[in-house]
């Protein structure tokens, strides 16, 4: 076996800390693992004959990290199981799915368990639908097996909101499909009718085709177009004209005029009526699928704090709903679990990953007497916790409430299209009425009034915004930018101030080596790095991983040391080699004399010593993303002012704003302070874009005019984001803002075109000089013009 293979775990691919090495003999081969959990998972996978899992390439990028050791409560899980004659069914949200391989493994593995009838994971929502025979296998057993694979299953209760959203999506799809099918039939009849108009047609055939056209158009208007009709009715009742009213009016006037024409032997324009409904349905469908993709993370976020907890009662643990925990209860938290509530540690010590709270990647050492927050993760020790607040008052719950409040305080954006229809519709209606009154005595009075409505048919107006939005969101999605809807696109074009979070947004969120300070002349930098890598390569601490990465980058491959002892929160010791590494404090405790340490609070320093002799230190820092500088120079050239809102120390905030030339920075800020700052600036008349990645940014994201989040952010940030960059590349942001501006330009051009057509056609129609057939032709032309103009957005150059 090669050196490289010995160093990394067969199952998860992570480097093995020598102290943790677990060996498994199989025939003549020896396999090494980083922990018993990985060995267990490997045995299960091999036992099930699924070794293919290890050959799948994606695994190399995203190794499984934690093995969950949670217990599952039968009575609790049973609430979520629905039983039927064909077997029981449960929906589980699976935590820990990272790639297609995970899904493959879960499905294959579950299907092999006797009693499981079907296992199907949804790729977008990470939801596992499990059908099983309750007589053969128990649900707790299935959940336990899943957790043995390294995935944490959580029961998923389908609340009403979610069910209705899903059925709405389906009904929209069916309406659209029906509209397309009928419109295609209609096109055949229409082409024949148009040809007949120019070349002459037998009146009987014409009548037949017209009747057929009417027959297929009717369901398009009243079934497929029902959402618009309903929306229009509501808007009429509330006297607030909106986009739906415009669309309903456009399609209904074209439809009813055509019916009237059919009865009186004139030309019909059913195609116009059907086209507007079909095209706008397509736009709606597109928007809803973009929204669906962006909200896929919601399910996973809602239960960041675990739903169950093990309560300690008289030395016994008992599994219970974490919502029922009372202050003063004692609970036990296993390694790898998240804290369900805020609490005080009574017993044990461990490193805690608080990234969920403050976005900081480096775990914090916590011991008896320290407080921990709900939603943060216990990494490596078992802790006994005294509950200090109910789950409903925990940090996560408070963040949730702050988000809700920020959302309700924010005034909704009124769409340009809604504003326009608010003026346009009353105007056209009054002109039609005036025309009727003017021609009052004339027998053609009604016809003239209808002609006004037909030529003013706001098809082009109705199409102006949705088509441009549809094309632009489609083009943006190709580049990895998701606009959640037309309103976001519109709002994004009006921004003047861009606010950013620091850790994880502007930086990678992973510390990297920035300096190696070797004190001894004997030791040059490479040697120090080699010593450090030997010591640290087995640790999962972000600082240790930063050092290992640097060693690999410089192509230093050195053997790993055996017998490394890890002292949580302090450092590492290799007893045999007398090699020490850790904080300055730790080395002093061990009796090492340190030279002056850096007083740069922005970087983390790891010190090393051997045989009681100080070797030097390595500085690590979470540095700015590679493309950050270019992004900010682009944003500056586009005329935006920038603001940094960081929860981190002032020193690092200042440093990064100076290097990126950010206009203003504020640090350290709590989530509340970030939100208040955004609200204060909004009141001053700024249109603000907030970009953030952490749970602590969520309230600020909700308060901003437009919120933006980058791939790899926490689920709640992505859920909040109106603008989602699906690739971890900041350069997409200036491109997205530019695209939104171009889209608004196109929309304005479309509106201008549609209005100037109306401006000429309506007076002609009102004066009775325009034959309806020319009006209809002009109407079709203006719609096509709008469409073609919108399609220009397809050609925006990539970022």
């Amino acid at each position: 076996m090669s050196e490289a293979e010995r160093q990394s775990c067969v199952h998860c691919g992570l480097p093995i800390a020598p102290a943790d090495l677990v060996l498994e003999q199989d025939a003549d081969q020896e396999f090494s693992f980083c922990c018993h959990g990985c060995r267990g998972a490997w045995l299960i996978i091999r036992g099930a004959g699924l070794e293919n899992f290890y050959t799948r390439k994606e695994l190399k990028h995203e190794p499984l990290k934690e093995i969950h050791s949670s217990q599952f409560d039968r009575t609790y899980l049973q609430n979520f199981v629905t039983e039927s004659s064909t077997g029981a069914e449960i929906s589980l949200i699976i935590d820990g799915i990272r790639c297609a391989s995970c899904i493959w493994l879960i499905e294959r593995y579950m299907q092999q368990i006797p009693g499981v009838l079907a296992a199907r994971v949804n790729f977008a929502t990470h939801r596992l639908l499990l059908r099983f025979d309750p007589h053969l296998v128990e649900i707790t057993q299935l959940c336990w097996k899943l957790s043995q694979l390294g995935y944490l299953p959580r029961p998923y209760s389908q609340d009403e909101l979610r069910t209705s959203m899903e059925s709405e999506r389906r009904s929209l799809l069916i309406r659209f499909g029906t509209a397309v099918f009928l419109s295609m039939q209609l096109m055949g009849f229409s082409i024949a009718l148009y040809a007949g108009y120019f070349e002459g047609i037998d009146p009987q055939t014409r009548l037949l085709l017209q009747i057929l056209a009417a027959l297929v158009t009717t369901p398009v208007i009243f079934y497929a177009g029902y959402p618009f009709l309903r929306g229009a009715w509501f808007s009429l009742r509330n006297l607030a004209p909106n986009m739906d009213l415009l669309i309903a009016m456009g399609s209904l006037t074209a439809y009813s005029y055509s019916l009237f024409a059919l009865a009186t032997g004139r030309e019909v324009y059913f195609d116009t009526a059907a086209m507007i409904v079909t095209l706008i349905l397509a736009g709606r469908l597109f928007e809803s699928s973009a929204r669906h993709r962006a909200t896929a993370g919601l399910d996973r976020l809602l239960q960041l704090a675990p739903a169950t907890a093990s309560r300690l009662v008289d030395g016994q643990t008992d599994q219970m709903d974490s919502r029922l925990l009372e202050p003063g209860d004692l609970i036990l938290i296993s390694p790898g679990d998240r804290f369900p509530v805020d609490g005080l540690i009574l017993n044990g010590c461990s490193e805690v990953d608080e990234a969920a709270v403050n976005g900081e990647a480096i775990p914090v050492f916590r011991q008896a007497g320290d407080r921990v927050k709900a939603g943060t993760q216990n990494l490596n020790g078992t802790l006994t916790l005294e509950v200090e607040a109910k789950a409903a008052d925990s940090f996560i719950a408070r963040i949730g409430r702050m988000v809700e409040q920020a959302q309700t305080r924010k005034a909704p954006i009124q769409n340009l299209a809604d504003r326009i229809s608010g003026i346009f519709i009353p105007t056209v209606l009054s002109i039609a009425v005036l025309t009727f009154i003017y021609w009052g005595a004339d027998q053609n009075a009604l016809l003239h009034a209808i002609t006004v409505l037909v030529v003013a048919c706001p098809c082009a107006l109705g199409l102006a915004t949705p088509t441009a939005v549809m094309v632009a969101t489609g083009r943006a999605a190709e580049e990895g930018v998701l606009f959640r809807g037309g309103d976001t696109l519109e709002a994004a074009s009006q921004l003047n101030l861009l606010a950013f979070d620091k850790t994880g947004t502007l930086t990678e969120g992973r510390p990297q080596v920035i300096a190696i300070n070797a004190v001894n002349a004997v030791n040059d930098q490479l040697e120090l790095l080699c010593c450090a890598a030997q010591l640290e390569s087995g640790s999962r601490h972000p600082l240790a991983q930063g050092i290992s990465v640097e060693a690999k980058r410089r192509q230093i491959f050195c053997s790993q040391l055996a017998n490394i002892q890890q002292i949580p929160g302090k450092g590492l010791i290799a007893r045999e080699e007398k090699l020490l590494g850790g904080s300055a404090e730790f080395l002093r405790e061990q009796g090492i004399l340190l030279s002056e340490t850096l007083d740069d609070s922005t970087a983390s320093e790891v010190h090393f010593a051997q045989d009681g002799r100080y070797l030097g230190s390595i500085c690590l820092q979470d540095i700015a993303r590679q493309e950050a500088a270019k992004t900010f120079s682009l944003l500056r050239s586009q005329g935006y002012s920038t603001l940094l809102l960081s929860g981190d120390q002032p020193g690092s905030a200042k440093k990064i704003s100076e290097s990126l030339k950010i206009d203003r920075w504020l640090a350290p800020l709590t989530p509340e302070q970030k939100t208040l700052e955004i609200e204060r600036l909004t009141e001053l008349g700024n249109k603000i874009l907030m970009t953030g990645d952490g749970i602590n940014d969520a309230p600020a994201l909700a308060a901003a005019t437009v919120s933006c989040s980058i791939a790899g952010s926490s689920d709640i940030a992505m859920e909040q984001a109106g603008l989602l960059l699906t690739r971890p590349n900041l350069l997409l942001l200036p491109w997205a803002l530019k695209t939104s501006q171009k889209t608004m330009t196109i929309i304005h051009q479309n509106l201008f075109w549609a209005f100037s057509y109306n401006l000429i056609a309506i007076p002609l129609a009102a004066s009775g000089k325009l034959l309806p057939v020319y009006g209809a032709a002009a109407m079709a032309l203006s719609s096509i013009g709008v469409l073609l103009n919108s399609l220009r957005l397809k050609r925006i150059s990539p970022p």
Partner: protein, 58 residues
């Protein structure tokens, strides 16, 4: 002439209706609920038959 047109219209309507009914059926069966999955599942299909589960699982 007229009968030909009628026949053709009727035929095209029947074919269209068939496709439409099939589409509705597919939507109701949830075929469009997870359009992301198809491109991955396609790659999984050529694996050999999964062997029967062994009994020494935990």
């Amino acid at each position: 002439m007229m009968t030909t047109i009628l026949l053709l219209i009727f035929l095209s309507f029947c074919i269209g209706t068939g496709v439409w009914v099939f589409f509705i059926y597919a939507v109701k069966k949830g075929q469009f609920d997870d359009i992301e999955a198809a491109k991955y599942r396609m790659l999984d299909d050529d694996d050999e038959e999964p062997p029967t589960p062994s009994t020494n699982q935990h």
